[in-house]
């Protein structure tokens, strides 16, 4: 006869899936697109990525210490690393170092730890970081460069790159360029219609990524592949990516069919900007998206639609970050009004 340890409640088994494993899988899925971006934009992009991710990790440790939860386990759940990574994927690759650091402050300190850390934040941390930067520092946040591959002639060397990122040396004029969406927007203000604007940029199969943009923008196809990998591993469900892309493509297709000189085609919208990154990696952020399937469909569609509206009509060339934040704000409401019907009930449970 033996007396047993303090009773634990059932179940006495676990699937083995852990937060750190989920985060690691997402990072694995992000790797190909990131590496592609690195080769495309060379040393400056690598340095900026390192600065951004590093700042996020340092701030995460500091915040956890302040909150008295400084155990190694909470740091290595990987959420800070992933948030920093996603933020870095949306920055102009030649942006100065302080962009990365300030973005990390907004992401980790304001958007995440002010709310109590992992799981408590209503807004997507990486997108808070990006939007805060975009509004505060419009110029460096919209200075894009042409692809300047590692080791190619004319690309900045490691030393040049250190200067660009850390001592504010201006990006060589020869390298600056515009993204597709930014170009169309500026041309529209000069009275050039969308069709000609696209042609003047010489968009040559932009899906392949050989054009100006952020790391996440140029590697759209690889981001898509990474997203499909996440779907296959059941880290994310199909609802948000599908509905987001539909919400973006449907109005774009209709607009383009009605007035091609005013509206970009659906294909351009889907491959340009952060559409793919947003659909598979940002809007699908578990913490800030709805918990129900129906809610996820509404959320994704709203993100896509608002992205199209902001891209097309508002002052900013890229609206995905705003769209995601706007829909984040609606998540509690969406969750509340899409509660599934409980077994044995005629109607969903009454609001609590």
């Amino acid at each position: 006869m033996s007396t047993l340890p303090h009773p634990n409640h059932a179940p006495h088994a676990h699937s083995g899936v852990k937060v750190s494993r989920i985060m690691a899988t997402v990072m694995l899925a992000l790797t190909p697109a990131t590496l592609f971006g690195f080769t495309l934009f060379g040393w400056p992009s690598i340095l900026l990525w390192l600065v951004t991710v590093g700042a996020c990790l340092v701030l995460e440790v500091a915040c956890l210490r302040l909150a008295g939860r400084g155990g190694p386990k909470t740091l290595w759940d990987g959420s800070a690393l992933l948030a920093g990574w996603l933020l870095a994927m949306t920055l102009p690759p030649f942006a100065p170092w302080w962009i990365g650091v300030l973005g990390a402050v907004a992401t980790i300190v304001v958007a995440k730890h002010a709310y109590g850390g992992l799981g408590q934040n209503p807004f997507n941390p990486a997108m808070v970081g990006r939007v805060a930067l975009l509004i505060s520092f419009p110029l460096p946040m919209t200075t894009w460069v042409q692809p300047a591959p590692l080791f190619a002639a004319g690309s900045p060397s490691l030393i040049d790159s250190l200067h660009i990122i850390f001592s504010g040396t201006a990006v060589p004029d020869a390298l600056t360029s515009a993204t597709l969406l930014g170009h169309v927007k500026t041309e529209a203000t000069r009275g050039v219609d969308a069709l000609h604007a696209v042609m003047s940029l010489g968009a040559d199969g932009s899906g392949l990524g050989w054009h100006a943009g952020s790391l996440g923008e140029t590697g759209s196809l690889l981001v898509l592949a990474g997203g499909l990998f996440l779907l296959a591993r059941r880290i994310i469900t199909w609802h948000i990516p599908t509905s987001l892309l539909a919400g973006l493509a449907l109005p774009a297709a209709i607009g383009h069919a009605v007035a091609p000189e005013l509206y970009l085609s659906a294909g351009a919208h889907l491959t340009a900007g952060a559409a793919m990154l947003g659909a598979f990696f940002i809007a699908t952020d578990l913490v800030t998206s709805p918990a129900t399937s129906a809610g996820r469909l509404i959320f994704g569609f709203g993100c896509g639609l608002l992205t199209w509206v902001i891209r097309t009509f508002a002052g900013f060339p890229e609206g995905l970050a705003f769209a995601v934040l706007l829909m984040n704000a609606g998540v509690p409401l969406i969750d509340r009004y899409t509660r599934p019907r409980i077994y044995g009930h005629g109607q969903p449970a009454k609001a609590g």
Partner: protein, 193 residues
């Protein structure tokens, strides 16, 4: 027609009364703890704001302007708005005790809701005609309601979150309001023409 729709969109979203004009912040922070209360408050405010826009427009155009009493505008508007709110409160108390219980002490708050007076004064400033003034009031109120309900949803969730002590309560609500405002800046420069 399109013009009026655009006016509605613009007042509700682009120039949101709370997040862009920073009017009506007291009910925004005061009545946003529960979604149900926020919905009630939003509806009541919508009603009062529309009514007040109409009433103040009439007061301004039919009394103050003809008699050249522009300097009495603020006093006159406050009187009319206060009376309208009192009236609405009594009517709700009688017709819907449940709604009255939900809104409770918040109904009188509408009287001091600066959004109501602010919108009425903005109407004068913009030189709006009757229909524009009405739509401006209604659109602003819709934007107020939208943001109030969104904010209430987030706050209901925050009530269950492990917010650090230093940020719990008002601080985190203000940070959230700031982030919400940041998100709404995406609409800035929205030009539907």
């Amino acid at each position: 027609m399109t013009e009026y729709l655009l006016l509605l969109m613009s007042t509700a979203v682009v120039n949101n009364v709370i997040l862009v004009k920073f009017l009506g912040l007291c009910p925004f922070l005061g009545v946003s703890k529960k979604i149900d209360a926020a919905i009630g408050m939003g509806l009541a405010t919508t009603f009062v704001l529309t009514l007040a826009s109409v009433a103040t427009w009439m007061l301004d155009h039919w009394l103050l302007v003809p008699l050249d009493l522009g300097y009495l505008r603020i006093v006159g508007f406050i009187v009319v708005i206060a009376a309208a709110v009192q009236f609405v409160e009594m009517a709700i108390k009688k017709s819907s005790p449940q709604l009255y219980q939900v809104l409770g002490i918040y109904l009188p708050l509408i009287t001091t809701n600066c959004a109501v007076l602010g919108v009425a004064l903005l109407n004068v400033q913009n030189g709006a005609d009757f229909l524009h003034a009405t739509l401006y009031g209604f659109g602003s109120a819709t934007g107020f309601t939208l943001v109030l309900i969104l904010f209430a949803g987030i706050r209901e969730r925050l009530a269950l979150a492990a917010v650090p002590k230093a940020f719990a309560g008002a601080p985190i609500s203000l940070i959230t309001a700031g982030l919400l405002s940041l998100a709404f800046m995406g609409f800035s420069g929205l030009n539907l023409t």
